[in-house]
Amino acid sequence: MNTFSINQRSASGCTILDLHGELDAHTASELETELQDLIARERLKIVVNFNRLEYIASAGLGVFMAYIEDVRNEGGDIKLTNMNKKVYNVFDLLGFPALYDILDDESEAIKKFSNT
């Protein structure tokens, strides 16, 4: 049984999404809804914490691809943090590290946002 959930927190003006479980073509729509909602509410300093995400497929990466441009055009960003090695490897295979801010820890992302 596939389990995926998202918790939302705020810290220092940033919105943090904690991802849990497995993100695939079945569960990606939940993340998409969450991001669309944040963009609609102009909450554009977005940190996605992958600490408890165990698995990601390209459908999950696709969600980040669909919205990053809109968020950046409005002065925000989607920063990705705390990935385990397996999850990072998928982003790396597709060349995401050159295009996205992928950081070891959530605190670095918050710090970067507070400097902007």
Binding site: N2, E22, D24, A25, H26, M65, L94
Partner: protein
Amino acid sequence: MGTNSTYRKTISASTKNLSDIRDFVAGHAETHGFSGRQIADIRLAVDEAITNIIKHAYKGDDNHSIEITIDFNNERICIELQDTGSSFDFNDFPEPNIQEKIKQRKRGGMGVYLIHSLMDDVTYGRQNQSNKMKMCKYRT
């Protein structure tokens, strides 16, 4: 554990079955001694292939089914996926230009490239109105 073994499973073409199939394939690969890194690659390749069948061959219609066969020998694991949907070009797999896709707010087109990156041999063909995709990974 015997080294020549075959396992088979048929699922309906719904994304809700993805995690069960990932676990089915990963469980057998683990029993047959594949490493954690190899199992992660196999898990993702199978997921991407089945997602493509669901979305492109069957266009989201979950009244269809997909047959999965896993075959082990001393040297490798092979996973064969069979569907009766429209054919899909698994042999064309340029490295996706993510930057361009982001600009155009496009997604997708990454699965086939990933499958070829993660597995050692990938073949795809159509016969008697069904598509067969076979992907293998060697133990070393």
